[in-house]
Symmetry: C5
Subunit: 99 residues, 5 copies
């Protein structure tokens, strides 16, 4: 999985039928310090995430292993909202500091 921050939403009226009702989120990748790396992905939201939240994104066939994405043409899914992580025993990110 990659760490990322939700920065916006993507609207697409015309799409494969099976995708109706899904939310497409624009997610910017984060490094281990919580800084944006320059990369991004559009991921389907499976956990009720919102703009500004730090999340985990699973890609590939694993992105279809949620209730909302099963058997759909979706290659990236937000499957967790991150509360915190540490590096070398020290807090690198904690939700209350940041969001």
């Amino acid at each position: 999985m990659n760490l990322g921050r939700v920065v916006g939403t993507v609207v697409a009226t015309r799409k494969e039928n099976s995708l109706d009702g899904l939310r497409f989120m624009l997610v910017r990748h984060l490094d281990e310090k919580g800084k944006e790396t320059g990369g991004q992905v559009v991921a389907v939201d499976a956990v009720g995430s919102g703009v500004g939240e730090v999340v985990l994104v699973a890609t590939g066939s694993s992105a279809r292993q949620t209730q909302v994405t099963d058997k759909k043409p979706c290659d990236a899914v937000i499957m967790a909202i991150v509360d915190s992580w540490d590096v070398g025993g020290k807090d690198a990110y904690r939700k209350s500091d940041d969001d």
Copy 2:
């Protein structure tokens, strides 16, 4: 999924039989501001997209989860046409401005 802009079409007469009748589109990747990143992919069109449109492309096995690509040697599919997206609450792209 990746954001991209359809810039052209690819013609291939000789191909695996299962691919007959599919449309192959040349798609340039876009960043969160809608600028080309330099990357590209050839994707099968599943939603009636045309040159100039901004689209979402799903890759890998997820590219086979549409009616037109099921069980075919296709690793990238256009599964949505993008109307708009926002970053930090502001419009980053809107179809009527651009296409």
Copy 3:
């Protein structure tokens, strides 16, 4: 899929049994103008392609969705030979000019 040009063949006598009889082609990736990007892949030929031809390569599990690659340890397949493509309505590549 990626655009590529077949530049050579790879010979491998000792291999997983299921791969006997397959042709392994060395393919250099091309950009939207038909220039080599520096990347490459070894792909199994499923369409009778030859050295010098411009082709489409599908990767990942989609590379196993041809008659010759089904259920084999193959992660890249040439599934189409490209006749032409255009960018912005102008020819970017046409087979007769080039090969």
Copy 4:
């Protein structure tokens, strides 16, 4: 698989239900000399690894081929803890030197 070093843990209370009880580890990629490459991944732990250990990470659908990750939206798993490796017949890494 990639070589990596576990540098921390990621906490995510709100997540896809099937992921409850899994441990998410922040893993920094290592090159053949054991130096960090700058890349990273968040991987589920399947082997009881801890911070500081050098591990192997499998990605994609293969990340779901363990008892703890089966059928879950997980695209990276720690499936082995590395004791040592050699390059050209000489030790490049050995656990007792380092951890």
Copy 5:
């Protein structure tokens, strides 16, 4: 598939049970001239390869399509030992010159 050279072996005593008995090889990627590109992967050996040999590596789900890797958390497999390849009709690599 990628061209690579086996440069060493990785020892991992503690691992997912299904991986017992497999050999993990450190493989450095090669370009079309046979020079190392800087990239690497740890791959399971399915064909009896040894250090110094030039090989083909298949990744992703295709890495599980061999007898030794079936249904295992393995995302890269050595499925062929390369004898030679040519570029533009000239030998680029031949085993007897090199190994």
